[in-house]
Amino acid sequence: MGPNLFTNYGEAVSAILFCIGFTNLLLQTNLIKKIIGLNIMDSAIYLFLAEKGYIAGRIAPIVVNGVTSTERYINPIPSGLVLTGIVVSVSVTALMLSLTIRLYTRYHTLDLDEISTQLKKEGK
């Protein structure tokens, strides 16, 4: 065990959130809950990235009074990356939800086990 577990509490929380989302993906049979689990995993990754760029005692990367010194602002790169990621995760969610609707119109259930049983009964 390293020395920094309790100082890195943000990263620890993001690791736990990631695993909760992953457990959701493994154990839930409901498709919508699986999608929510994937979204939680997304958020955990974003939290991890943002914690990387955070520096205590500094302000957000918006220039105040024309001061452009590195000692004043936090790291802007993770913010940019996460900004891109959040919007992409919405389109991924929309895509998965539309696939869910298609599956529901075909099989009339949201349960993945039932869907696979019906698939086997049809002989595919």
């Binding site: 690791a15 736990i16 909760i20 918006i62 024309g66 790169i77 389109s91 929309a94 539309s98 298609r102």
Partner: protein, 319 residues
């Protein structure tokens, strides 16, 4: 040397009869054995139904998941294994986190010269006060262009998956009405007040993307949310006056191609050390920071249209 026979002669030979028998064209017993005339096959609907039922019963028995002991055992085992695996993963990740450098310190390897350069030269080189906006729309603009295309492609894929034809669409609209309060007075009154405010706030966020927090993505999402509220309150008849599939097509086409051309120009001039005609302006003014403001507007339009399109397609399978 072979002799040429006529067709009649050939048909009398042994070889012809043998090969005809071999290929089964003529039944050798026909005409020589007494036979009953065969009945014509008639499909029996009841028997077919019975067979189908039997098949279903067999399939139900084979895939009887509720009374299958092994299935239950496997299910239990799967659950236990996945919980154990996730606990193991949590432990592993926590141990890894405990060895990472402490949060909030300057000496982390993430805070290297790249971010230093963005902070120190960002204002001077891009003219944007918001360093993040300057970064994602100037230094890393290709990234953002790709992301806008991801949104566009996602909309098209959702359209492929959920699209309905004309009659189905009318049916879906009727179904839609059954679950939606039509002409709800409270909702309409609230929407009349809120929608302009929401949309103006979204425009403010987009236009101030280079001066403060915000930008194309968040502003576009706010405008899209306003449009969704308007649609919920007043129905598709009102929104179809200004937003149809054609609007979406042209807005996305013009925004994405404008983004592409503008950034091509700026990358071309930048790479060849040419003088760019786009003025930087004074930092802090609304018309400043070169291309960032128009690019923010383009991205905002794409995002707003995409979000409205998602919602409309989920509601009734089309715009």
């Amino acid at each position: 040397m072979s002799r040429k026979k006529t067709a009649e002669e050939y048909q009398k030979t042994f070889a012809f009869r043998f090969f005809r028998w071999l290929s089964g064209e003529k039944d050798p017993y026909s005409g020589e054995v007494e036979m009953q005339p065969q009945k014509e096959y008639q499909p029996d609907p009841e028997a077919a139904l019975r067979r189908e039922k039997e098949h279903d019963a067999i399939m139900d028995k084979v895939y009887d998941t509720e009374h299958n002991k092994w299935m239950h055992l496997f299910h239990r085992l799967y659950q236990a294994t996945s919980i154990l695996f996730c606990l193991f993963l949590i432990a592993l990740l926590l141990v890894t986190v405990s060895y990472l450098p402490a949060i909030g310190t300057v000496t982390r390897p993430v805070n290297n010269e790249v971010s230093g350069r963005y902070i120190e030269k960002g204002l001077e080189e891009t003219g944007a006060i918001n360093i993040v906006a300057g970064m994602i729309l100037d230094y890393r603009a290709f990234d953002t262009l790709g992301e806008s295309h991801v949104l566009f492609v996602a909309t098209i894929t959702v359209l492929i998956l959920l699209r309905l034809n004309k009659t189905e669409k009318d049916e879906a609209e009727v179904n839609d009405r059954r679950f939606e309060p039509k002409n709800d007075a409270i909702l309409q009154l609230v929407a009349t007040f809120l929608v302009p405010i929401i949309i103006i706030f979204g425009i403010y966020i987009i236009l101030n993307g280079h001066l403060g927090p915000g930008g194309g993505f968040s502003g576009g999402a706010v405008i899209g949310a306003g449009l969704v509220l308007y649609l919920n309150a007043f129905g598709f008849k009102k929104t179809e006056r200004f937003f149809t599939e054609k609007t979406y097509k042209w807005v996305c086409f013009f925004s994405l191609s404008f983004y592409c051309l503008a950034k091509s120009y700026s990358f071309y001039t930048g790479a060849n050390q040419l003088h760019s005609v786009i003025p930087k302006g004074t930092p802090g003014a609304i018309l400043s920071s070169g291309l960032i403001l128009p690019l923010n507007i383009a991205v905002g339009l794409v995002v707003a249209c995409t979000i409205y399109a998602f919602y409309a397609m989920f509601r009734k399978g089309g715009f």
